[in-house]
Amino acid sequence: MNATVLTPGFPELEPPRTFYTHKSGLLSWLLTTDHKRIAILYAITITLFFIMGGVAAAMMRINLVEPNGALLSPETYNKTFTFHGVVMVWFFLIPSIPATLGNFLLPLMIGARDLAFPRLNLFSWYLFVIGGGFTVTCLILGGVDTGWTFYTPYSTLFSNTNVILVAVGVFVTGFSTILTGLNFIVTTHKLRMPGMTWFKLPLFVWGMYAVSLVMVLATPVLAMTLSLIGLERVAHVGIFDPALGGDPLLFQHMFWFYSHPAVYIMILPAMGVVSEIIPCFARRKIFGYQFMVYALVGIAVIGFLVWGHHMFVAGMSPTAVLVFSILSFTIAVPSAIKVFNWTATLRRGQISFEAPMLYALGFVGLFMIGGMSGLMLAAPALDIPLHATYFVIAHFHYVMVGGTVMAYLGGIHYWWPKITGRLYSEAWAKFAAILMFFGFNFTFFPQYVLGYLGMPRRYHAYPPQFQLLNILSSAGASILAVSYLIPVLYLGWSLFQGARAGNNPWNARGLEWQTTSPPPKSNFLERPVVQKAYAYDEPAPGTPA
């Protein structure tokens, strides 16, 4: 997908010219400062990373069909799960919604012409591509076997793999995240059009704002931690290695101080997407708008204070365990509020079930299951047996894949007509969404049971009594893989053959629906009309009442 392919798709849309036809040629994309084009560059890049991470997942699932690990050697398996984790977390999930949908929609939703720093935005993408390309190259040529968590002293003293190089790659990519967050914060503060007050902002914008705060505050800690790893590995400065006078638990504290907020970097944008989709297809304003805002910000803030729940059995003091446990229970409250409010939004609606809505409803269900298994892990007495087993794997895949990936795809389907100007096959889209929901549960629910029965994570081989559940999980994964491939096909078809979408095919509210599809380079040809948020009880501006 590049400019020369896309351009012929919209020749008849003149005037006005869309942001695709504004300029053409590969260079016009690589040197663009248009947030919409950069969003598309990101979308292409992260799709490639998602495919790579998915291939690694498939290799693991095939390997685990046999208890003795038939397909891969232990070394390859260890490198494969590291590849899967590093690529999926840093090069797909973290940038997924913010860098694509956020980049595209944030200025449109607040009535701005672009982000506050358009050139910085392009620079962020280059950092991302350089960091990502470098990391993936190092992971494929040689590999790293530490897991995406890089626990010391294994990563610093024992692993004979490309730890330093990958740390450098992730370090560079971290700056892309920080700069995107900075850009979003400034944009939200300074570029809202007149009349777009804070409490008229769509929850998607609030989600982007909250996640940007976390990105800017948490990611530097990752950079520091990775630098210290490098320092210890290269210069033998004692920071994490006890033999040099360091403390391995310090690494875990620093790593999770970043990586737990990173979990919220992945989920807050998803919550924003779902908060747009459900009101649109229920034809209702979101239930409890202000509570939803407070819940988003609350999650972002408390998210910084719960990292220790990854370390209940690591050798932390019982007092620390107590404090982190109670805070972890507390953060479940705003998450619960959100689930209840999404459900309540359906009440007295006029609900229709287009594909984005199916994804959004699927998100609510899977996020709830994932969140509640998180409650169990927040209880130290249960975390002791469950920690580092497949229960944890299932828990965070429910939140990250069942949650974030479902919401991302829901968002892609919801805004696809706006982004491309085309419609896709609704029937195929519904089919893929439903297949994905079942494939997902089929893959990951057995892993909850495996974890309860005691199967540890990161095992290349396992005792035979776990085999049946592993086969179920692998079978589910094959269904899940198919359900991810189907959208590639019908969305690709839609790019060239899809029917014209018109400005607002869903009759949705929000400024982005008041401009043309695809939008012109300057976003709006006419000044959009600001309504209250989710004004589904009012007619859309420009339509007869």
Partner: protein
Amino acid sequence: MSATGLHFLLPEASANAHSVDVLWWSMVGLCAAIAIGVFVVMFVFCIRYRKGRPADHHLARETLPVELTWTVVPFLIFMGVFAWSLVLYARSRTPPADAETIYVVAKQWMWKIQHPGGQREINTLHVPEGIPIRLMMTSQDVIHSFYVPAFRVKQDVLPDRYTELWFTATRIGDYRLFCTQYCGLDHSRMGGEVIVMSPKAYAGWLDQHNTGTSLAEQGAALFRAKGCSGCHGPNASVHAPDLDGIYGRIVHLSDGSTVVADDRYIHDSIMLPDKQIVAGYAPIMPSFSGELTESQVLAIIAYLKSTRPGTAPAHESTKGTYKGTKP
């Protein structure tokens, strides 16, 4: 536990396992109830308020009381679960005073076990039924984690640090031991078995595997062989602290602070002697970190423990017999 066949229930093979399971199944029930409740409500709304169906589409005016309810009620439930969990957690962290200590040294990719009587084993741990067992654990290289699902116990094992866990096995049988902290190439093969025996059979096993020297005696031998006694012994020419009965005492340090001479303190004094200097002594002790293995340090600690007043000194102790088995 047979190696094949399907198990959907874990055996409860330790004294605390049942109370953990009660919390676990209660949480499963609570979560299932909430999930089913939300799904049913969503489903009903989706049917009842689907597009094209005549329904009352008026907006609810006052949402605050509803929202406060579903903020406060979950919060109270969560705090209840937290308190419940905390009681169980406190119990899991507090070994009974009469617990027998067994030492565990982890290394890539095996578990080395040292019994106080001097018996050693690798990747198997024999324990008596009904007697509280406290494991003192350390690692020789990276972080590992000691996990026995049937006992519901897990604890990371760190280099240069002692961590501990305890359990009372309540059911005779063999139970799987896993390493659950990723530790490199053969992480998935780093496991073994905990073999729970009747106290009588256990005493027999101990006798059968008696090496002739208890752990404390091995420590006493090391204390001489490695030159510790040259400075710390009764006839030492060097000004060094007397270590007789040191274990459990309060030690005054040169920086004015005090510390209890526990396992960690003694370990660090041997391996990292510059870390804490005893008041009134010059920092002349060399580090033994290249000289002694973690297993040997454990033996020396066991020896120093045995010199406590009221404890039979190592050279007089009965050889590896197990006190808990006497009828």
